[in-house]
Amino acid sequence: DAMVIQNPRYQVTQFGKPVTLSCSQTLNHNVMYWYQQKSSQAPKLLFHYYDKDFNNEADTPDNFQSRRPNTSFCFLDIRSPGLGDAAMYLCATSRDRSSYNEQFFGPGTRLTVL
């Protein structure tokens, strides 16, 4: 089945220790998104790629970076995680840049910062 895969499902890191979350997709979609989701809050878009074009949200901290080496993979790098970065991180894809496209989500990576 075509899907969005995130690894790991659970990540524990120490305060200030860099961490990388990964996302892969078999849908061959052009757009990939990274969201941060905290309890009882709406998913917050951090950034997204349309193909290789990177689009950063204005309020995404510099601590968060992303890479998309090819169509299938996208990475979220947190350079110096703080306690406030503990959250669920969701990867999503959509076929193209259209308001008619639904998003397809991965299962998420739950990040704990000690």
Partner: protein, 114 residues
């Protein structure tokens, strides 16, 4: 910028009860509307969507939603809930005028008691 409000944050029902979850958005133009569901331990997935035409749309698992343009609302309904409907429900809106990024509501947690 548009915003999405889901006023019911937590809903607890018994099986066979009727369900209505509210979703209101603020945006003056035309929008596409989505409801996503996240079952425990699973990824967010599309429940139903509305683009145009009949304002009453039907989705999977007996869910339906009604778009009322004058009220800027897109409420989700199900006549008789089941224990397996226990999940988190998210409303999302995308303006049709060139955007493709959804704005999500904060979600409603539904617990159905058997």
């Amino acid at each position: 910028a548009q915003s999405v409000s889901q006023h019911n944050h937590h809903v607890i029902l018994s099986e066979a009860a009727s369900l209505e979850l509210g979703c209101n958005y603020s945006y003056g133009g035309t929008v596409n509307l989505f409801w996503y569901v996240q079952y425990p331990g699973q990824h967010l997935q599309l429940l139903l969507k509305y683009f145009s035409g009949d304002p009453l749309v039907k989705g999977i698992k007996g869910f339906e939603a009604e778009f009322i343009k004058s009220k800027f609302s897109f409420n989700l309904r199900k006549p008789s809930v089941q224990w397996s409907d226990t999940a988190e429900y998210f409303c999302a809106v995308i303006p049709t005028g060139g955007s493709y990024i959804p704005t999500f509501g904060r979600g409603t947690s539904l617990i159905v008691h058997p």
